[in-house]
Amino acid sequence: MTTLLLRRAIRVLVVCVGVSLITFGILQLSGDPVALMMPEAPEADRAKLREAMGFNDPVALQFVRFVGNSIRGEFGKSFYYRAPALDLVLERMPTTLTLTVLALGLAVLVSIPAGIYSAVYRYSLLDQIVTVVVFLGQSMPVFWTGIMLMLLFAVQWRLLPVSGWEGWQFMILPAVTLGTFQAPLLLRIVRSSMLEVLGLDYVRTARSKGVSEWIVICRHALVNAALPVVTVTGLQFGILLGGAVITETVFAVPGVGRLIVRAILQLDFPVVQAGVFLLAMIVVTVNFVVDVLYAYLNPQIRVR
């Protein structure tokens, strides 16, 4: 168990360096932040600012400075907000996490029962419908789903507020949008792993012992089918955070995603770096937890 943890921890470190290298590199390629900060200002003023911000130093030096600082949690001050970038990101993190966790919860709540039903009543009418819905759900881009849900529930039927983040009713549409993005894949995994497990000998044995079908499904089959589901849920968490970026913009949710989108457009390096770094850390941590959980659920891994 200890070696497993250690190995995973090293992997976390490697990911950290990789993430910072990529964010740094992409931003280096994307143009001059000073020109974007003061587009219609005289060149002399811009040159002064460029020098003051250290953009004239060699790229390698800038990178070393960046890595050194980010290890200490210092991403510098946002060019735009003139405030520490990390604070700006942390201030908005609870909103994004709330949205993501709600969406994840929603997806799990819908996809597990539906997946089980589909597996147990395979090829039934409802199973076919579910398959079609899964197909549709996976093909719809998040922003489109979001705008369609908004048009239906907020503009046409006036059941929910259009946008904002002022109370629980404001959270429904963004969470459903993001959940719709995640649920189909989860549902498919539940269905296929349930199908696999239901055909195994020990299930047949349980049934032949006269155990009720309900208990066979929930106690015997589901626990074993849960392994891949847990893995995928963990992996999907990162994709969900990515989806949150778009959802937050569409629904005017004051989260990290929106902050990063704006920072990218303004080439506000420190905010992009702090934001991406922190989100990456969350994904890595979740995956780490999933790995551990996996080991707990599946004794075979612990032994290995």
Partner: protein, 504 residues
């Protein structure tokens, strides 16, 4: 099944209750794409911030709907000589915290922007001011280091802040949680990326605004803003793109209000390289583009053709200079005369994302007369590097626009676009017109408005002939407004919400 349906109805009804309560008649909700980084009016220079600031802070001067100067915190003003301006201050004006505004506060406001250590992004706007002198408690003199004809323009957005209060709470707190001004609304709450809540200030010298509550929401997506407007979640949105205009015009709960604005479109030629080093080719390009069709078909009619880059509303505009007509035949002739009877290949660049279709249409029209133009679209970031730095590499030209930084004066576009002095804007890379620099400088060096007007008239005739650009059109501001609210778009793109009234 029935009981299930009843439950659903009840559930949905509970959702509706909080929504209904939110819509009150004394509240005006405005959506902007974002909030400025601070509410301190001196430490940003962004449209979204200015629009909030003007409703909380007063400046020395104000502009009415027709864009004429009006007294605000200054009741009268005059130039004593080329470098000294006198302003008489309004008596008994109260700040939101009850303190009375004095000449000390005015001086303090200037000094905090002029202090280089504070790095205000508005420093450049007023750096010509050398000294702010308090003559008596109701009179101040602004002394400039050279004749500064744009001074009055700059005083329209130069908010006055309370000295004692700012010194007590500090710049940071002032800008985030305790801004205090003399304007119609006072600060209540700012939730970043959500809303700024303001409340009418009872002691405002103009009287009370019609709406007791003013909420400025940050909604980044235009389609979301439109959905909010249609459902009554917000009352006012800006920059409605031309494809959405018909939709909002037709909707029973909304209308569209438009006004011509300064933002002027052009194609800037690189005059250092062939073929646009030749005057005849530049003129041919001006004849080749059918501006009226572009305005009607691609911009929902929301544009107006200009004769040169000097906007009709800017000081110095000469209406006797007429636009180039659309004349493709003439364009082909001129091109042949210039030595290109078989046409010529050029590349035109642009980072003007919202006007991509217009960009492509212009290139197509140029191609039809023989100036075979390849459109090259860019992202704004890399484009700035390419076009504005190094050597200005937008060969052979680029499609862009200039917003005059909201200064209604010919100088505000002539200098950045055409002056070739080092440290200038794009003129230094692209424009090569004999003697133009001198004319721009001359108009700049006096506050004698009649003389300036004469020089600008001369310049406009000259640049029309020399054609350093394809002169295109200026844009319109388009507001989407709820039918519950009466408000008209302004030519300076301000949201001066003191003029907004509830409609019965």
């Amino acid at each position: 099944m029935k009981r299930w349906r009843l439950f659903l109805v009840l559930f949905l009804a509970t959702l509706l209750i909080p929504l209904g309560a939110a819509a009150q008649k004394d509240t005006l909700v405005v959506a902007l794409v974002s909030h400025a980084p601070t509410i301190d009016p001196h430490f940003h220079f962004e449209r979204v911030g200015i629009l909030v600031n003007i409703n909380m802070f007063d400046s020395l001067l104000h502009k009415n709907k027709r864009l004429e100067y009006e007294p605000s915190l200054a009741t009268s003003w005059k130039a004593l000589n080329d470098t000294t301006w006198e302003f008489k201050l309004r008596k008994g004006v109260k700040f939101h915290n009850g303190e009375v505004m004095t000449a000390e506060d005015v001086k303090f406001s200037f000094d905090r922007v002029l202090d280089p250590a504070k790095k205000s992004p508005q420093y450049g706007n007023i750096r010509a001011i050398k000294e702010v002198r308090i003559v008596d408690p109701e009179t101040i003199h602004l002394i400039t280091d050279r004749p500064f004809p744009l001074l009055l323009e700059r005083m329209v957005f130069f908010p006055i802040v309370p000295k004692k209060h700012v010194e007590k709470v500090g710049d940071q707190v002032f800008g985030i949680s305790q801004p205090v001004g003399t304007g119609p609304w006072k600060f209540v709450e700012w939730k970043r990326d959500q809303h700024i809540k303001l409340e009418a200030f009872d002691g405002h010298w103009r009287g009370r605004p019609a709406f007791k509550h003013l909420i400025i929401r940050a909604v980044p997506e235009v389609s979301t803003q439109v959905a909010e407007l249609k459902t009554g979640g917000v009352d006012l949105i800006r920059n409605v793109s031309s494809d959405l205009v018909p939709d909002l015009k037709a909707h029973p709960q909304t209308y569209v209000s438009t006004a011509p604005i300064l933002r002027t479109h052009y194609i800037e030629f690189d005059m250092r390289h062939p073929p646009f080093d030749k005057k005849l080719v530049r003129q041919a390009a001006n004849y080749a583009v059918d501006k009226q069709t572009i305005i009607q078909k691609l911009m929902a009619g929301l544009g107006r053709q200009v004769a040169t880059t000097v906007h009709p509303a800017a000081f110095g505009h000469d209406p006797s200079v007429t636009p180039y007509p659309y004349d493709p035949k003439k364009a082909r002739e001129l091109l042949a005369q210039a030595g290109y009877p078989n046409g010529v290949d050029v590349t035109i660049h642009s980072a003007f994302v919202e006007f991509r279709p217009v960009f492509e249409a212009i290139c197509q029209m140029l191609t039809e007369v023989g100036i075979r133009a390849t459109p090259k679209p860019w992202d704004p970031g890399p484009a700035y590097n390419k076009f504005l730095q190094g050597e200005g590499k937008a060969t052979h030209g680029y499609y862009g626009s200039w917003g005059y930084y909201s200064v209604f004066d010919a100088d505000a576009i002539l200098h950045p676009l055409y002056h070739t002095e080092p440290g200038g804007w794009i003129g230094k890379w692209y424009t090569r017109i004999e003697g133009l620099d001198g004319m721009i400088d001359e108009a700049r060096s006096t506050v004698d408005q009649a003389k300036r007007k004469r020089i600008y008239a001369q310049i406009q005739r000259y640049i029309k002939e020399e054609a350093p650009n394809i002169f295109l059109f200026h844009q319109f501001d388009t507001l989407g407004v709820s039918k519950k609210v009466e408000y008209e778009a302004r030519g300076d793109e301000w949201l001066w919400l003191f003029d907004a009234k509830p409609k019965r």
